[in-house]
Amino acid sequence: MAGPSLLDSLFQRSLEDLIKGLRLYIGDESSFISKSLDEIRREIKSTDQQTKATALQKLTYLHSIYGIDMSWAAFHAIELSSSQSFNFKRIAYLAASLSFDPLTTDVILLLTHQLRKDLQSPNSHEVGLALHALYYISTPDLARDLTPEVFTLLNSNKGKTRKKAIAIILRLFELFPDSVRVCFKRLVENLENSDPAIVSAVVGVFCELACKEPKSYLPLAPEFYKILVHSRNNWLLIKVLKIFVKLAPLEPRLGKRLVEPICDHLKRTTAKSLAFECVRTIVSSFSEYESAVRVAVENIKEFLNEDDPNLRYLGLQALTIVASKHLWAVMENKDFVIKSLSDADVNIKLEALQLVLAMVSEDNVVDICKVLINYALKSDPEFCNEILGCILLTCSRNVYEIIVDFDWYVSLLGEMSRIPHCQKGEEIENQLVDIGMRVKDARPELVRVGRDLLIDPALLGNPFVHRILSAAAWVSGEYVRFSKNPPEIVEALLQPRTSLLASSIKAVYIQSAFKVLTFYLHYSISTKGVISPASQGVEDLMHGRVQENSQFVRPVADSDTESFEDMSVAHEWSSLTSLKVEPITEESIVNILDLVETTLGPLAGSHEVEILERSRNVLGLVELIREELPGYLVKREEDNDKGQRKTHEMIKLIAEAFSEELGPVSASSQERIPIPEGMELNQSLDDLDAICGDFGLHIPTSFSLGRSISSEKDDVTMSDRQSKEEVESTESTSLLAEHRKRHGLYYLQSQKKEMVYDDYPPANDIKTGDNADDEANDLIKLTEQSLFSKKKANQAKPRPVVVKLDDGDGPFITAKKVELKDDLVSGAVRDVLLGDEATTSLSRTKKSDKPSSKRRQDKLDKDKSSRPKEDSKSMENSELENANLRRSKCHSRGKEKKQRSTAIDRDEHEEGDKQKVSHHHGKHKSRQRADGALTLAAQSPVIPDFLL
């Protein structure tokens, strides 16, 4: 051993030297630390305990404060723990408790013997050290081996030691549930100790246990009740209240008994902590007791008027709990709540915000939102977004339950988007699209708001708004018939700054431009023939068109009158837009086509498939029209009747495809489609990956192009799969549009019965297939019927129809069975409490009943088979004694006798007598027992009625 020597010991640096050195060291601390670590590594091997202890202490310090790994030194700590010196032992145990990981430190078991020795030490401080260490490092093995020692300590005559043993019990129960059988009774006995500190420790343990599984501790309610009534120790009372909060939902009768003492404490106490706990208990668990809630709310008011922000914060928090059941309490404090919105304290502001939103109703939502938006404008970004998030959440709750005026709400959404700090893009996006689909009457306003957002080039510079712009673009495209000026929207959608958008959003923009363009062209050709070079008023031409419309085309399959409305697009448009539209001239069309071509031309080579495909679609259309452009709008002789030109047919068909109504889709609708026979849904698609290579993600796109109508069956398969994917997709907007385009009719509409249109070709094929003409001819035979059945938006209507899905709008949740984890601790507790019952009756009927006591002995022996035999014997004896004592106490409170059919009459008499003396609540007994029997029978037939 050349390393550590006397010299090392002599010149060893103490912890103080180390700390001083660290404080004085200039430059990188880590180099100093690693130098010190080298020293420590040498010193810790020393045979001199002092040297070792100092080294370990330094290491522990570095570990605790600087996060230096010291797992390598675990063995040294164990070695030192056996030292005679209290000082060194303390250092060793501190090191162990701060650095050992019960899961990975494998030398822990070596401590078992030393811990046992120290737990039995006459020096209470040594016992304390061992208990502390045991808490941190105990493993299931350690817990099992040391349970007897801790059990003994539960009866220690030194209050301090007993307290610590009680506190450690929690860890033992958790790691070694069988210890419950040994220790539980003694733990309960400590509830009756005269030292409040000990009772407090026990109640603390029960508070933790009850948090995990309250039901098992219901039989102890009378004990806690006694504490609640008699104790004046605030710590204790707080914990007892916490326990009762857990027990109250399980036992409705508790409320009646508890409310009064709680209110008494509330009136009596001057301690804010206890007062707050009482308030919280009342409002969270006993809110059906009006008078108690009154008292609690009075107290909350006092809290709110304090200067201390802590109390105001907690007061508001309590008010939030009340709000759900007693809104009046919030209303009474309305002014304070509103004022708190501008408090300097974030906590208070957030609570106040919650409360303000709790007050929102149909009648005041407009005013409250106005107030909140004003606050949002003044607030820091974080709180601003908090406010916006809360508004969005509240207003959209239950499918916009509280919104009556959707025009207002839509413009509010638009307003929110313009708030500089707004980061709620995704939520606003979803709501804009959602409202568009659900609320028909809100669409004109949506389009107006969307237009205002789109034409503002400044917004494109703010990435947080991009999602909203995506929704605005989608809305403008989808509901373009409400637009006042389609060319303007095309321009907005194609403005140069859109290059700032992400490609997925850009794709939505292009797709929307496509829709708007189609609409515009469709409108222009549907009015052709009435336009003369002299350019008549648009009004005339609109009405002229009404007649023409009768020849228009409808798909046969669609019997839904609502969607016919779409064919009246142009008419609607004219009536909506106050007829300030410029007459459409060839020139204006040429301008738009030029614009489209110049902006989308470069994108036709884009690397983004979404963008590439969509821009090519648009360009294809433009090209088609260009061919026939000269004299495009002039009615030609050969065009009349059915001889319409091919491009016109095209445009009409595309416009029709686009004008299909889109409804919200229930997230579960996919599940309801019966799987067609012979379809394989779970087949591995790995082969496809190999074929498609890099384009794996875009399989749907590439497939839809190539498929033919004859392979309809396969199409269903694909569409099923796709729609599933797409419903889940986050880029819902763009995909939705794309999806609809492809499988318009497979897309389930919420209010229709489910139909599978097997014979209707997907809209996309129109362009590619030669059969487009034939189909068009078929379709032309149909007449438009709904032209005049169009409903006008009625402003006076109380609330527009909001489309809801039959099966709720929330995401589809598969009924997950909540698996009750078998809690070993509570299981053991129940065993002890109920086993107690069984044996009680037995031992009472025949005190000397040998077989039964033997059986019990056997059982316990089995439980503790791992323990040394003689040890367990002696313990059991004492335990039995205790148990007997305890039982006789139980009798005197007369709780469980009704349940026991084996109890003999003599006992009944005795019990009855004692009960009169010791329990003044006896008079309620029979009545409560009567109604109690039912509830308890439902919960668990074996739990005796302890509550009387």
Binding site: D48, Q50, N87, A167, S273, N310, L314, I348
Partner: protein, 165 residues
Amino acid sequence: MIKGVILMNDKGKPRLVKFYDYHPAEKQQELIRRLYGVLSSRAENVSNFVKVDSLFGSDARLVYKTYATLHVLFIFDSSENELAMLDLMQVFVETMDRCFSNVRELDIVFNFNKVHAILDEIILGGQVLETSSSEMVKAVEEISKMERAANSIMAVPSITGWQGR
């Protein structure tokens, strides 16, 4: 239960770290950094509670108080009362004050062991065991006495006894 007690100075340097669940050293350092981040974002004269669910799991709360250059932090869950924790913190600081007669940050820096001893008297395994400051002082003094006694005994066989002073 109480999940942890931390003393740190106003620059985020930890002075006492005690978690009642095992966290590896790096995780502890990370938690301390995050907590310091939380504290430094708080204005003065605001409430002392912060929700720290993101760091310590559901329901976790933090109560902190600043004494001169020192932040005292208690982290706890829903089975503790917020105001009671604030009181307990006061008791803890008072006890340190009595043990070191006018405690300063430096006292805590240099008395690593003793501060742990004080805290261990108050809390065991996340459970509050002692709330009386004088009881704590008594216990801590006993411990120091025993330590001194142990040291003087050790001074005879080993020369390092005097050296440590």
